[in-house]
Amino acid sequence: DTAVSQTPKYLVTQMGNDKSIKCEQNLGHDTMYWYKQDSKKFLKIMFSYNNKELIINETVPNRFSPKSPDKAHLNLHINSLELGDSAVYFCASSQEARGWPGNTIYFGEGSWLTVV
């Protein structure tokens, strides 16, 4: 069973479109995250939710809107996609809302987004 699963795995879309990436975790964790890994391989946190409540909201364009319908799901919706949004987006979860290394974070396999 996949602990943290995200869909789609690959996504190609044209500039200006709106797209969503979905994430689900079956670990019973309270906290979920979205990270962005750009072409320089740098992993940056975007958002964190604890029990459906937003607790981390880094400086991210407001075209990015996370939605957590329940604590097992955290979806990422992106409006008006731009070329610079091309990246791999990783969903993750952890039991507690503390920063690591004190807290094990489990990552999904990533969603490759290409904006053309």
């Binding site: 869909t7 789609p8 795995k9 690959y10 996504l11 190609v12 879309t13 044209q14 200006g16 479109n17 709106d18 797209k19 890994q37 750009d38 072409s39 320089k40 391989k41 091309s86 990246a87 791999v88 990533g110 490759w112 290409t114 053309v116």
Partner: protein
């Protein structure tokens, strides 16, 4: 079954050489072909080709598509050690109504090593 076949699977050349990477495909409904450069984890988008015979160029890299013979080539001239990476070819067979595609079929990649 849709197939995307890349050749060679691996290639070692010296800096300054020119290389040609191949991608052939058999898909039921072809829409577009994409080339990516993958170093470590996050891939970098290179080109998207939709029309036959039109060369796309970016610096020392260029690519062309032949829809009659069902293949594409990626050329890299005056190679540098920084060109060492896995080059992936992917084919889109359906664009959804939202202007995106999440049904990409990837080849296995060509592992290119540039020796100084």
């Amino acid at each position: 079954e849709d197939k995307v076949v890349q050749s060679p699977l691996s290639l070692v050349v010296h800096e300054g050489d020119t290389v040609t990477l191949n991608c052939s495909y058999e898909v039921t409904n072809f829409r577009s072909l994409l080339w990516y450069k993958q170093e470590k984890k996050a891939p970098t988008f290179l080109f998207m080709l939709t029309s036959s015979g039109i060369e796309k160029k970016s610096g020392r890299l260029s690519s062309i598509l032949d829809k009659k013979e069902l293949f594409s080539i990626l050329n890299i001239t005056a190679t540098q050690t920084g060109d060492s990476a896995i080059y992936l070819c992917a084919v889109v067979d359906v664009w959804d109504s939202g202007g995106g595609a999440d049904g990409l079929t990837f080849g296995k990649g060509t592992h290119l090593i540039i020796q100084p």
